[in-house]
Amino acid sequence: MTSLVSANGVTKRFGSFTAVDNVSFDVESGRILGLIGPNGAGKTTLLKALLGLTDCEGQLSVMGLDPFRQRKELMQNICFIADVAVLPRWIKVTQLLDYVEAIHPNFSRKRAEELLQQTKILSNSKVKELSKGMVTQLHLSIIMSIDAKLLVLDEPTLGLDIIFRKEFYANLLNDYFDEERTILVTTHQVEEIENLLTDIMFINDGKIILDSTMDALADSYVEVAASGADADKARGLGPIAEGQMFGKSVMLFEGVSREHLEGLGEMRTPSVADLFVAKVKGARA
């Protein structure tokens, strides 16, 4: 396995505010990594550093390139969709395809046209005439027609309705993703993507508070719903979070093996959302 992204002590300050604080991680190729964090946690800043849109301290390498200093080379192999990177409203669909075709060495116009044919987007429409969902479809069709090694998605489905959101991720998985490619995605709607992720990273206050594969997550974290004496016993094992549901105490354990918890109550792997809340609260306590 080769590291596609390698960050070592990456820090980004805006005046006295530290948006990304000494962050280190590796992303191997062929993974789908979810970067989850509350608003203002530093996700977007970190992605911008990866995309060479902002300079940062520390060592950061993406496909062996320094993103900020070798942005042009990097952009031949990276694509990104961000809620803040919107398509220009004045451009026509055909003009957009002409432009990307002329600029991007790895763009397949044929594929983009095939993908667009599956949508209701007309080739002579202007972007401003399309709905928000269609603009995202258009953007995704272009991105999926670029043979890039890394795809970065920053809140790609923000403001879209559920049908578009489902379609978006289904297209991404079925038509785009393969072993050669790597996807890095941030979103608030964790539930929608947790089944597609292979890896997950939580970020809070500029720091990484969890960096794990999804498989390892099931081994490290377990949720137990217990009541009465069993609940007290479970509490003794030191849960990282506890809540109430249907009269039972639901406790979340980190690094406690399932054998220890056997018989205390109903066990299951916690959802990413629950785990995230527990970790963020834990980090703030």
Partner: protein
Amino acid sequence: MIKHQLALVRRELWEHRSIFVTPIAIGSIVTLGVLAMLVFASGFAAELDIAIFGAQNLAGDPERKAALTGFFLGTSWIFMMALAILTVFYCLDSLYAERKDKSILFWRSLPVTDAETIISKLIVAIIVIPVITAIGIIGTHIINLIVTSIWVSMKGGDGGMLIWGSVAFLDNWLAAFIVVVASGIWMSPFIGWFLLVSAYTKRSPLLMAFMPLFLIGLLEGIILRTHVFAENVLGRGDGLPLFHTVNIEKFFNEEQWRISEDATNLLAHLDVVQFLTSPAMWAGIVVCALLSIGAIYVRRYRDES
């Protein structure tokens, strides 16, 4: 690199359609004006309409040449003023609109450097717009000469001889082309300045572009009691070093209220060598380059979040 530039320049022309639409609009208005004038004049007297661009009885050869040259100069002037204003707005918009509509991150998500982007905008402002202006001037002129010569012929005059045979049109068209292109190069420091303002300003680019220029001129006048900035920067448009010392009395015959006959070859007034060897012209290019590098720097280093 060249392929990228072609795509980038084409992109600019898609976004700023006024670069094409304006010359077509001006050309149409001028042509309609000439047609209206011809029709209007023919209401007075059968002879008079022919006289507009000179026919046998009322106007002689010098008058006709003067009228045709005057018409050409007037049309060229309208085009140059309109396209100069258009260039100001184009430059001020070119790096501001993409931030305002948030498309900048999309453009920057493609493998194009900020330098390539700024260069494409310089090419449009300094080369493409002037060339389109020159084509607009020459095209409008040709259309109006055709219209007028047809009109003159319909009225019994020899349009071929009276219109086409009178003035050295090829020389004048070449002169127009040289003046328009040289003006773009001469004014390039302003283009660099407008691009920098466009890349930098958070609001009202027009105000941010002109206010500092006038303030500096004003402050220099009040504090130092000199006018170096006002004369050299604000007055730069008057100093295009392309013309021979023009003797205005020789050029424009005030008594007869027309351009002197021996002045109607416009190319003869130009001195291209003087322009190309002008230190002020080269200094302008250097200033334009420095300001453009500033614009590249701002686009590259500013965090848009």
